[in-house]
């Protein structure tokens, strides 16, 4: 199995959560009989003074440290503390900021909802939010629809080369985020590759101005950027699909369309949902794509957030915009998950 598949494998185990990240205990593993082995071993090496009787009355802290739970927590604590301090902590601070207000350079820490009022009612922010949502949902669906046949191909016909296929398909995703977007600017630009190429071939006589600096350019660029990421969860769910079900359905007279709608689609729904989420949630906050190929009509919410933390320097408003975006995208994600889960039941 390719390494990059695993997070999706983890994602798939909890398809109903809004942010569906979870890890399940690998139940196939026979847990090492660590506790007993280790205490015996300790017994051998410890000085005679620590008798078993003394060990049992040890204080609760060291008993916790010796227990399986304690050892687990202790082992995971360095990365966990890091994530607490640099992810959860800062997010709490941002949420707090969003309820404050700023007067020139001083932050006033009295509770206010003014920032949310501005974020949700001022036409400019409302439009940017709606546009960002529209773009991210469209990109997610386009990406998943286009990626599904690829995942299907790799899973069903990849044979020995499944790993190699996945590597080939995911490599562009791992390299040069900024450069890929720049490349689309070079392709779609007014004097770009597509326009000059078509003119050279005589298809058009003057450059098309509709290629770049609009919402479509943003959608094309983002769908290309995230294509590979959608394939992985789809592939994982197709790999789990029991092929004999398809054979049985075929033997009982179901055609390919019916087989797909009644077996493959419902059973790979967790993968579809995971793929949609993993594209939709990060793209809603994309900053570079609208900046490079979006132009005036393709500005997204992240650009407005950046302005508040940069030039405009109104942190509380920027924080409220960021928090609103996250809440709204989570609600939309939840709705999509519920709708697709409902669809799955209908199909079955």
């Amino acid at each position: 199995m390719a390494c990059i598949q695993l997070p999706f494998d983890l994602l798939l185990k909890c398809p109903d959560a809004v942010v569906p990240i979870t890890t399940a205990t690998p139940d196939y593993r026979i847990m090492p009989s660590g506790t007993t082995v280790q205490s015996e071993e300790l017994n051998l090496h410890q000085p005679a003074s620590t008798s078993p009787a003394q060990r049992t009355v040890r204080d609760p802290i060291s008993r916790f440290v010796r227990s399986e739970t304690g050892k687990g927590w202790l082992t995971i604590s360095p990365p966990l503390l890091y994530a607490m301090l640099l992810l959860i902590g800062p997010i709490i601070v941002i949420v707090a900021n969003s309820f404050w207000s700023q007067d020139y350079l001083t932050i006033d820490r009295t509770f206010t909802l003014e920032n949310y009022k501005a974020a949700l009612t001022e036409p400019i922010y409302r439009d940017l939010l709606m546009r960002s949502l529209f773009i991210s949902v469209t990109v997610a669906f386009v990406t998943v629809v286009l990626a599904y046949p690829i995942a299907w191909f790799v899973s069903f016909y990849g044979g020995r080369y499944k790993g190699l296929w996945l590597f080939i398909i995911t490599v562009p995703f791992w390299s040069g985020y900024l450069l890929r977007i720049l490349s689309w600017k070079v392709i779609l630009g007014y004097k770009g590759v597509l326009n000059t190429g078509l003119m050279h071939l005589g298809v058009i006589t003057e450059p098309l101005s509709s290629l770049i600096y609009n919402v479509n350019a943003v959608i094309i660029t983002l769908a290309h950027s995230w294509a590979a990421f959608a394939i992985l969860p789809l592939f994982v769910s197709l790999e789990k699909l029991d092929r004999s079900l398809l054979e049985v359905a075929a033997d009982l007279g179901d055609g390919p369309v019916r087989r797909f709608l009644r077996i493959t689609l419902p059973l790979t729904m967790p993968g579809i949902i995971a793929a949609l989420m993993i594209v939709m949630i990060p793209t809603v906050g994309d900053y570079v794509t609208p900046k490079l190929v979006g132009g005036k009509d393709g500005v997204m919410i992240a650009n407005a957030i950046q302005v508040q933390f940069g030039r405009a320097s109104n942190w509380p408003l920027g924080a409220a915009l960021a928090v609103s975006t996250m809440i709204i995208v989570s609600l939309v994600a939840g709705t999509i998950v519920l709708a697709l889960t409902g669809l799955k039941r209908l199909l079955k």
Binding site: L80, I150, A322, T325
Partner: protein
């Protein structure tokens, strides 16, 4: 040669088309970086090395490259160390609260980067820290960690825990077991994790853009150059070098990961 049935042939054509479109923008930059024209347009006019040659004497670019190297190596090393802890806990221990704990560590994988960037910015400035390469490293560590954990979890799953038990039973200390059994068994995954996270850090833009202050990394430097239309060919040359470096690093990482997988197949 027997022709494939039509639907499957269509699928094959689609796959080829998809891969071509996937790689087209990635390979376009190198093509135009050798084109002897100040703007990237068709038809190609002639072959030149001059955009690459002008990079050689560019001190600002070399400074940015050095910064990227420092950030990448630090982030890769720290993320792999923390990743070993997380992957070990996930694969070798069974405890309450494991799912939420690992979900939290994996969360940066799915969060919009701008959210991570602004919240880190506010907190780091609030703590009175100056923006520097250190703040970029702190940010990159956060987004590299999920990838390290992923690679290393499959590394840990790849060897039998009874080897560690045997080592302990034979009288080796915990540290000795780690040094003489666990780490050697994990080496391919560790190398793979280092290379993958280095590549991610090398390419990362948003966090570096917000957190780098006056010391740009390569993507931030490129971003600054995009304001000058005349610099575009140089940016294309630099970008091509970056893409080539990423491809080489990822390929080597994949080779190491496969080696780790083969070890798994040798499991009794």
């Amino acid at each position: 040669m027997r022709l494939l049935p039509t639907p499957r042939r269509l699928l094959a054509v689609y796959v080829i088309l998809y891969v071509v479109i996937l790689y087209f923008p990635v390979l376009l930059l190198p093509v135009f970086s050798f084109n002897d024209s100040a703007t990237p347009k068709l038809p190609l006019v002639g072959f030149t090395f001059r955009w690459y040659e002008s990079l050689a004497g560019n001190a600002a670019m070399q400074g940015a490259a050095w910064n990227s190297l420092i950030v990448g190596i630090s982030a890769a090393f720290l993320s792999t160390v923390l990743g070993i802890c997380a992957a070990r806990a996930i694969t070798r221990h069974r405890f309450r609260g494991k799912s939420p704990a690992s979900a939290l560590i994996m969360a940066p994988l799915i969060l919009p980067e701008i959210i991570i960037a602004i919240s880190l910015l506010v907190v780091l400035l609030g703590l009175g820290l100056q923006l520097s390469l250190v703040t970029v490293i702190l940010g990159h560590l956060l987004i590299c960690l999920p990838y390290s954990v992923t690679v290393l979890v499959s590394g840990f799953e790849g060897f039998d825990p009874s080897m560690e038990e045997a080592s302990r039973d034979l009288g080796e200390t915990s540290f000795g077991t780690l040094r003489r059994v666990t780490l050697p068994m994990l080496t391919p995954s560790i190398v793979s994790s280092l290379l993958v996270t280095f590549t991610i850090s090398l390419d990362e833009f948003i966090l570096a853009f917000f957190l780098s202050g006056t010391e740009p990394t390569l993507p931030v430097y490129i971003w600054g150059q995009l304001r000058f239309a005349a610099k575009l060919p140089n940016v294309l040359a630099l970008g091509s070098i970056l893409i080539a470096a990423s491809l080489v690093l990822l390929t080597v990482a994949e080779i190491f990961r496969r080696r780790a997988e083969r070890k798994m197949e040798l499991r009794p």
